[in-house]
Protein backbone atom coordinates (compact mmCIF):
# COMPACT_ATOMS: atom_id res chain seq x y z
CA UNK A 1 0.00 0.00 0.00
CA UNK A 2 1.41 3.36 -1.10
CA UNK A 3 1.75 5.79 1.85
CA UNK A 4 0.09 8.99 0.71
CA UNK A 5 1.18 12.13 2.60
CA UNK A 6 -0.58 15.42 3.47
CA UNK A 7 1.31 17.35 0.82
CA UNK A 8 0.09 14.96 -1.88
CA UNK A 9 -3.48 15.21 -0.55
CA UNK A 10 -3.29 19.01 -0.83
CA UNK A 11 -1.92 18.64 -4.36
CA UNK A 12 -4.84 16.41 -5.42
CA UNK A 13 -7.47 18.60 -3.78
CA UNK A 14 -6.09 21.73 -5.42
CA UNK A 15 -6.10 20.01 -8.80
CA UNK A 16 -9.70 18.80 -8.36
CA UNK A 17 -10.77 22.36 -7.51
CA UNK A 18 -8.77 23.78 -10.43
CA UNK A 19 -10.59 21.39 -12.78
CA UNK A 20 -13.92 23.00 -11.90
CA UNK A 21 -15.36 20.90 -9.04
CA UNK A 22 -16.99 23.42 -6.71
CA UNK A 23 -19.27 21.18 -4.62
CA UNK A 24 -17.42 20.52 -1.39
CA UNK A 25 -18.99 17.09 -0.82
CA UNK A 26 -18.02 16.04 -4.35
CA UNK A 27 -14.47 17.36 -3.86
CA UNK A 28 -14.16 15.24 -0.71
CA UNK A 29 -15.59 12.12 -2.40
CA UNK A 30 -13.30 12.44 -5.42
CA UNK A 31 -10.28 13.16 -3.22
CA UNK A 32 -10.90 10.02 -1.16
CA UNK A 33 -11.50 7.98 -4.31
CA UNK A 34 -8.26 9.14 -5.95
CA UNK A 35 -6.31 8.60 -2.74
CA UNK A 36 -7.73 5.07 -2.40
CA UNK A 37 -6.79 4.29 -6.00
CA UNK A 38 -3.24 5.56 -5.50
CA UNK A 39 -2.83 3.71 -2.20
CA UNK A 40 -3.97 0.44 -3.77
CA UNK A 41 -2.26 0.63 -7.14
CA UNK A 42 0.82 2.85 -6.86
CA UNK A 43 4.09 1.26 -5.76
CA UNK A 44 6.68 2.81 -3.55
CA UNK A 45 9.22 4.63 -5.63
CA UNK A 46 6.71 5.34 -8.43
CA UNK A 47 6.31 8.90 -9.70
CA UNK A 48 3.28 10.18 -7.77
CA UNK A 49 2.40 13.07 -10.12
CA UNK A 50 2.65 10.93 -13.23
CA UNK A 51 0.51 8.23 -11.64
CA UNK A 52 -2.07 10.78 -10.51
CA UNK A 53 -2.23 12.29 -14.01
CA UNK A 54 -3.02 8.86 -15.46
CA UNK A 55 -5.61 8.05 -12.79
CA UNK A 56 -7.56 11.32 -12.99
CA UNK A 57 -7.95 11.01 -16.77
CA UNK A 58 -10.05 7.87 -16.26
CA UNK A 59 -12.65 9.86 -14.29
CA UNK A 60 -14.02 11.80 -17.26
CA UNK A 61 -14.52 11.91 -21.03
CA UNK A 62 -13.67 15.55 -21.74
CA UNK A 63 -13.36 17.41 -18.44
CA UNK A 64 -13.60 16.52 -14.75
CA UNK A 65 -16.38 19.01 -14.13
CA UNK A 66 -18.69 16.73 -16.15
CA UNK A 67 -19.18 14.84 -12.86
CA UNK A 68 -20.42 17.95 -11.08
CA UNK A 69 -22.67 18.88 -14.01
CA UNK A 70 -24.21 15.38 -13.99
CA UNK A 71 -24.66 15.52 -10.20
CA UNK A 72 -26.37 18.91 -10.34
CA UNK A 73 -28.58 17.71 -13.18
CA UNK A 74 -29.75 14.67 -11.20
CA UNK A 75 -30.37 16.72 -8.05
CA UNK A 76 -32.19 19.44 -10.01
CA UNK A 77 -34.45 16.93 -11.74
CA UNK A 78 -35.44 15.58 -8.32
CA UNK A 79 -36.20 19.13 -7.15
CA UNK A 80 -38.34 19.61 -10.26
CA UNK A 81 -40.33 16.50 -9.38
CA UNK A 82 -41.03 17.90 -5.89
CA UNK A 83 -41.95 21.28 -7.34
CA UNK A 84 -44.34 19.67 -9.83
CA UNK A 85 -45.97 17.75 -6.98
CA UNK A 86 -46.36 20.99 -5.00
CA UNK A 87 -47.83 22.68 -8.08
CA UNK A 88 -50.38 19.90 -8.64
CA UNK A 89 -51.31 19.88 -4.93
CA UNK A 90 -51.79 23.65 -4.82
CA UNK A 91 -53.86 23.47 -8.02
CA UNK A 92 -56.04 20.69 -6.57
CA UNK A 93 -56.43 22.67 -3.34
CA UNK A 94 -57.54 25.83 -5.15
CA UNK A 95 -60.05 23.82 -7.24
CA UNK A 96 -61.45 22.27 -4.04
CA UNK A 97 -61.64 25.73 -2.46
CA UNK A 98 -63.49 27.14 -5.50
CA UNK A 99 -65.99 24.26 -5.54
CA UNK A 100 -66.56 24.49 -1.76
CA UNK A 101 -66.86 28.28 -1.90
CA UNK A 102 -69.26 28.28 -4.86
CA UNK A 103 -71.45 25.55 -3.34
CA UNK A 104 -71.52 27.40 -0.01
CA UNK A 105 -72.40 30.62 -1.83
CA UNK A 106 -75.35 28.95 -3.59
CA UNK A 107 -76.53 27.44 -0.29
CA UNK A 108 -75.82 30.76 1.49
CA UNK A 109 -73.57 28.96 3.94
CA UNK A 110 -70.98 30.93 5.96
CA UNK A 111 -67.91 29.20 4.43
CA UNK A 112 -68.33 30.82 1.02
CA UNK A 113 -66.21 33.93 1.50
CA UNK A 114 -63.09 32.40 3.14
CA UNK A 115 -63.11 29.41 0.77
CA UNK A 116 -63.26 31.57 -2.35
CA UNK A 117 -60.63 34.03 -1.09
CA UNK A 118 -58.36 31.08 -0.22
CA UNK A 119 -58.92 29.65 -3.71
CA UNK A 120 -57.95 32.92 -5.41
CA UNK A 121 -54.90 33.42 -3.17
CA UNK A 122 -53.65 29.84 -3.66
CA UNK A 123 -53.88 30.00 -7.41
CA UNK A 124 -52.33 33.48 -7.64
CA UNK A 125 -49.48 33.12 -5.18
CA UNK A 126 -48.68 29.39 -5.19
CA UNK A 127 -49.91 27.53 -8.28
CA UNK A 128 -49.04 30.14 -10.91
CA UNK A 129 -45.59 31.11 -9.50
CA UNK A 130 -44.64 27.41 -9.29
CA UNK A 131 -45.85 26.89 -12.85
CA UNK A 132 -43.71 29.85 -13.91
CA UNK A 133 -40.54 28.45 -12.26
CA UNK A 134 -41.05 25.01 -13.83
CA UNK A 135 -41.76 26.38 -17.29
CA UNK A 136 -38.92 28.91 -17.03
CA UNK A 137 -36.48 26.05 -16.43
CA UNK A 138 -37.92 23.90 -19.20
CA UNK A 139 -38.01 26.52 -21.94
CA UNK A 140 -34.80 26.92 -23.90
CA UNK A 141 -35.39 30.05 -25.98
CA UNK A 142 -35.64 33.48 -24.36
CA UNK A 143 -38.74 34.28 -26.41
CA UNK A 144 -40.64 31.32 -24.96
CA UNK A 145 -39.59 32.32 -21.45
CA UNK A 146 -40.91 35.84 -22.04
CA UNK A 147 -44.20 34.44 -23.30
CA UNK A 148 -44.61 32.23 -20.25
CA UNK A 149 -43.69 35.12 -17.93
CA UNK A 150 -46.34 37.32 -19.57
CA UNK A 151 -48.96 34.57 -19.50
CA UNK A 152 -48.39 33.87 -15.80
CA UNK A 153 -48.40 37.60 -14.98
CA UNK A 154 -51.75 38.03 -16.72
CA UNK A 155 -53.04 34.92 -14.95
CA UNK A 156 -52.06 36.35 -11.55
CA UNK A 157 -53.61 39.71 -12.46
CA UNK A 158 -56.86 37.97 -13.47
CA UNK A 159 -56.97 36.22 -10.08
CA UNK A 160 -56.25 39.45 -8.22
CA UNK A 161 -58.92 41.27 -10.27
CA UNK A 162 -61.48 38.62 -9.39
CA UNK A 163 -60.42 38.80 -5.76
CA UNK A 164 -60.76 42.60 -5.81
CA UNK A 165 -64.24 42.33 -7.36
CA UNK A 166 -65.26 39.67 -4.89
CA UNK A 167 -64.04 41.61 -1.84
CA UNK A 168 -65.41 44.93 -3.19
CA UNK A 169 -61.94 46.47 -3.16
CA UNK A 170 -62.00 50.23 -3.80
CA UNK A 171 -59.80 50.15 -6.97
CA UNK A 172 -61.31 46.98 -8.37
CA UNK A 173 -62.27 48.57 -11.71
CA UNK A 174 -58.77 49.92 -12.24
CA UNK A 175 -57.11 46.53 -11.55
CA UNK A 176 -59.57 44.82 -13.88
CA UNK A 177 -58.94 47.30 -16.72
CA UNK A 178 -55.16 47.02 -16.32
CA UNK A 179 -55.47 43.23 -16.55
CA UNK A 180 -57.59 43.43 -19.70
CA UNK A 181 -55.23 46.02 -21.23
CA UNK A 182 -52.09 43.94 -20.60
CA UNK A 183 -53.86 40.86 -21.91
CA UNK A 184 -55.08 42.58 -25.08
CA UNK A 185 -52.19 44.90 -25.95
CA UNK A 186 -49.19 42.88 -24.71
CA UNK A 187 -49.89 39.17 -24.18
CA UNK A 188 -51.98 38.47 -27.29
CA UNK A 189 -49.64 40.34 -29.73
CA UNK A 190 -46.53 38.70 -28.23
CA UNK A 191 -48.19 35.27 -28.39
CA UNK A 192 -49.36 35.82 -31.95
CA UNK A 193 -46.09 37.13 -33.39
CA UNK A 194 -44.04 34.48 -31.57
CA UNK A 195 -46.17 31.58 -32.76
CA UNK A 196 -46.88 32.73 -36.31
CA UNK A 197 -43.20 32.48 -37.26
CA UNK A 198 -43.16 28.78 -36.46
CA UNK A 199 -44.74 26.84 -39.37
CA UNK A 200 -45.70 23.93 -37.08
CA UNK A 201 -47.55 26.17 -34.65
CA UNK A 202 -49.05 28.61 -37.16
CA UNK A 203 -52.60 27.24 -37.28
CA UNK A 204 -52.80 26.68 -33.49
CA UNK A 205 -51.47 30.21 -32.92
CA UNK A 206 -54.15 31.74 -35.16
CA UNK A 207 -56.98 29.77 -33.54
CA UNK A 208 -55.81 30.43 -29.97
CA UNK A 209 -55.19 34.13 -30.72
CA UNK A 210 -58.73 34.51 -32.13
CA UNK A 211 -60.15 32.79 -29.03
CA UNK A 212 -58.08 35.01 -26.72
CA UNK A 213 -59.24 38.17 -28.52
CA UNK A 214 -62.85 36.98 -28.38
CA UNK A 215 -62.71 36.11 -24.68
CA UNK A 216 -60.98 39.39 -23.77
CA UNK A 217 -63.50 41.29 -25.92
CA UNK A 218 -66.44 39.56 -24.23
CA UNK A 219 -64.99 40.31 -20.79
CA UNK A 220 -64.46 43.95 -21.76
CA UNK A 221 -67.99 44.38 -23.17
CA UNK A 222 -69.53 42.64 -20.14
CA UNK A 223 -67.71 44.73 -17.59
CA UNK A 224 -66.45 48.03 -18.99
CA UNK A 225 -69.28 48.80 -21.45
CA UNK A 226 -72.03 47.71 -19.06
CA UNK A 227 -73.01 50.07 -16.24
CA UNK A 228 -71.17 49.04 -13.07
CA UNK A 229 -73.18 47.07 -10.55
CA UNK A 230 -72.80 49.86 -7.97
CA UNK A 231 -74.57 52.36 -10.28
CA UNK A 232 -77.69 50.23 -10.37
CA UNK A 233 -80.45 50.95 -7.95
CA UNK A 234 -81.04 48.30 -5.34
CA UNK A 235 -83.84 45.93 -6.23
CA UNK A 236 -86.00 47.20 -3.33
CA UNK A 237 -85.86 50.71 -4.77
CA UNK A 238 -86.52 49.44 -8.30
CA UNK A 239 -89.63 47.54 -7.18
CA UNK A 240 -91.02 50.34 -5.03
CA UNK A 241 -94.17 51.96 -6.39
CA UNK A 242 -93.22 55.25 -7.96
CA UNK A 243 -95.53 58.08 -8.79
CA UNK A 244 -96.80 57.59 -12.28
CA UNK A 245 -95.38 54.09 -12.55
CA UNK A 246 -97.84 51.50 -13.74
CA UNK A 247 -98.95 49.34 -10.88
CA UNK A 248 -99.62 45.63 -11.44
CA UNK A 249 -103.24 44.60 -11.67
CA UNK A 250 -104.45 43.08 -8.40
CA UNK A 251 -107.79 41.80 -7.19
CA UNK A 252 -109.52 42.68 -3.90
CA UNK A 253 -107.39 40.20 -1.96
CA UNK A 254 -104.19 41.76 -3.32
CA UNK A 255 -103.32 38.83 -5.61
CA UNK A 256 -102.12 39.55 -9.20
CA UNK A 257 -104.69 39.27 -11.94
CA UNK A 258 -103.63 37.61 -15.19
CA UNK A 259 -105.09 39.06 -18.33
CA UNK A 260 -105.63 36.68 -21.17
CA UNK A 261 -104.99 38.20 -24.59
CA UNK A 262 -107.15 36.82 -27.40
Amino acid sequence: MYPINDQQITYILDDIRRRGIRMESLQESLLDHVCSLIEQNCKEGDDFEAFYATVIKEFYKKELREIEEETLLLIASKKDVNMKKAMVLSGAFSVAAFITGSTAKILQAPLAFPALVLGFLTIAFLFLPLLFIIKFREQGAGRDKLLWALGILVGILYCLSMLALFTHFRNKAMIWHITLAISFFVLIPVYFFTGIRNPEKRMTTIVVSVLMVAITGIQFSLTALHPPVTDKQPSAVQNAPLPGKTRPLVNDRGKPVFVKYQ
Binding site: I9, S25, L26, S29, L31, D32, H33, E58, E70, I75
Partner: protein, 113 residues
Protein backbone atom coordinates in the same frame (compact mmCIF):
# COMPACT_ATOMS: atom_id res chain seq x y z
CA UNK B 1 -16.33 -8.73 -21.90
CA UNK B 2 -17.32 -5.48 -20.16
CA UNK B 3 -20.94 -4.36 -20.50
CA UNK B 4 -21.53 -0.99 -22.14
CA UNK B 5 -22.12 2.05 -19.96
CA UNK B 6 -25.51 2.60 -21.67
CA UNK B 7 -26.68 -0.79 -20.42
CA UNK B 8 -25.42 -0.15 -16.89
CA UNK B 9 -26.72 3.41 -16.58
CA UNK B 10 -30.36 2.45 -16.10
CA UNK B 11 -29.54 -0.12 -13.44
CA UNK B 12 -26.89 1.74 -11.45
CA UNK B 13 -29.24 2.92 -8.71
CA UNK B 14 -30.52 -0.63 -8.21
CA UNK B 15 -26.97 -2.02 -8.10
CA UNK B 16 -25.85 0.54 -5.48
CA UNK B 17 -29.00 0.08 -3.37
CA UNK B 18 -28.65 -3.71 -3.38
CA UNK B 19 -24.96 -3.53 -2.46
CA UNK B 20 -25.77 -1.23 0.46
CA UNK B 21 -28.55 -3.59 1.53
CA UNK B 22 -26.10 -6.50 1.60
CA UNK B 23 -23.28 -4.54 3.26
CA UNK B 24 -24.03 -2.31 6.21
CA UNK B 25 -22.10 0.72 4.95
CA UNK B 26 -19.76 1.37 2.04
CA UNK B 27 -17.70 4.20 0.58
CA UNK B 28 -17.39 5.15 -3.09
CA UNK B 29 -14.16 3.36 -4.01
CA UNK B 30 -15.30 0.26 -2.10
CA UNK B 31 -18.52 0.12 -4.16
CA UNK B 32 -16.65 0.20 -7.48
CA UNK B 33 -14.24 -2.50 -6.36
CA UNK B 34 -16.97 -4.76 -4.95
CA UNK B 35 -18.96 -4.59 -8.18
CA UNK B 36 -15.83 -5.34 -10.19
CA UNK B 37 -15.04 -8.41 -8.09
CA UNK B 38 -18.62 -9.73 -7.94
CA UNK B 39 -19.12 -9.46 -11.70
CA UNK B 40 -15.61 -10.69 -12.59
CA UNK B 41 -14.90 -7.31 -14.18
CA UNK B 42 -17.93 -7.44 -16.49
CA UNK B 43 -19.44 -4.39 -14.82
CA UNK B 44 -17.10 -1.51 -14.13
CA UNK B 45 -18.73 1.48 -12.51
CA UNK B 46 -17.04 4.71 -13.49
CA UNK B 47 -16.48 7.53 -11.02
CA UNK B 48 -18.33 9.85 -13.42
CA UNK B 49 -21.56 7.89 -12.97
CA UNK B 50 -21.13 6.64 -9.39
CA UNK B 51 -20.89 9.95 -7.54
CA UNK B 52 -23.82 11.70 -9.29
CA UNK B 53 -25.88 8.58 -8.51
CA UNK B 54 -24.83 8.54 -4.85
CA UNK B 55 -25.63 12.26 -4.50
CA UNK B 56 -29.02 11.72 -6.14
CA UNK B 57 -29.79 8.80 -3.79
CA UNK B 58 -28.83 10.99 -0.84
CA UNK B 59 -31.04 13.80 -2.14
CA UNK B 60 -33.95 11.38 -2.49
CA UNK B 61 -33.46 10.30 1.11
CA UNK B 62 -32.78 6.67 0.21
CA UNK B 63 -29.25 6.67 1.62
CA UNK B 64 -27.78 8.34 4.66
CA UNK B 65 -24.13 9.31 5.10
CA UNK B 66 -21.56 9.48 7.83
CA UNK B 67 -18.06 10.84 7.51
CA UNK B 68 -14.77 9.70 8.97
CA UNK B 69 -11.44 11.45 8.84
CA UNK B 70 -8.54 9.44 7.46
CA UNK B 71 -5.61 11.70 8.16
CA UNK B 72 -6.23 14.89 6.26
CA UNK B 73 -8.98 13.56 4.03
CA UNK B 74 -12.64 12.79 4.66
CA UNK B 75 -14.25 9.45 3.83
CA UNK B 76 -17.98 9.37 3.29
CA UNK B 77 -19.77 6.14 4.15
CA UNK B 78 -23.15 5.43 2.61
CA UNK B 79 -25.85 3.27 4.20
CA UNK B 80 -29.52 2.61 3.45
CA UNK B 81 -32.18 4.72 5.15
CA UNK B 82 -35.51 3.06 6.14
CA UNK B 83 -37.05 4.51 2.95
CA UNK B 84 -34.09 3.17 0.98
CA UNK B 85 -34.63 -0.36 2.32
CA UNK B 86 -38.21 -0.35 1.05
CA UNK B 87 -37.10 1.16 -2.25
CA UNK B 88 -34.40 -1.49 -2.70
CA UNK B 89 -36.99 -4.28 -2.45
CA UNK B 90 -39.21 -2.50 -4.97
CA UNK B 91 -36.33 -1.87 -7.37
CA UNK B 92 -35.03 -5.45 -7.25
CA UNK B 93 -38.54 -6.83 -7.79
CA UNK B 94 -39.11 -4.43 -10.68
CA UNK B 95 -35.80 -5.39 -12.28
CA UNK B 96 -36.52 -9.10 -11.89
CA UNK B 97 -39.85 -8.67 -13.67
CA UNK B 98 -38.10 -6.56 -16.33
CA UNK B 99 -35.60 -9.36 -16.95
CA UNK B 100 -38.41 -11.93 -17.31
CA UNK B 101 -40.07 -9.65 -19.85
CA UNK B 102 -36.83 -9.17 -21.78
CA UNK B 103 -36.14 -12.93 -21.80
CA UNK B 104 -39.61 -13.47 -23.25
CA UNK B 105 -39.39 -10.51 -25.66
CA UNK B 106 -35.98 -11.40 -27.06
CA UNK B 107 -36.72 -15.12 -27.15
CA UNK B 108 -33.75 -16.00 -24.93
CA UNK B 109 -33.75 -19.58 -23.73
CA UNK B 110 -32.87 -19.85 -20.03
CA UNK B 111 -29.52 -21.54 -19.41
CA UNK B 112 -29.76 -25.00 -17.90
CA UNK B 113 -26.96 -25.97 -15.58
Amino acid sequence: MTYSSELIKGTLKTIVLKLLADNKRMYGYEITQRVKVLTLGKIQITEGSLYPTLHALEQEGWVSTETEYIGKRVRKYYSLSPAGKTKTKERVKEFSEFMDTMVFLLGIKPKTS
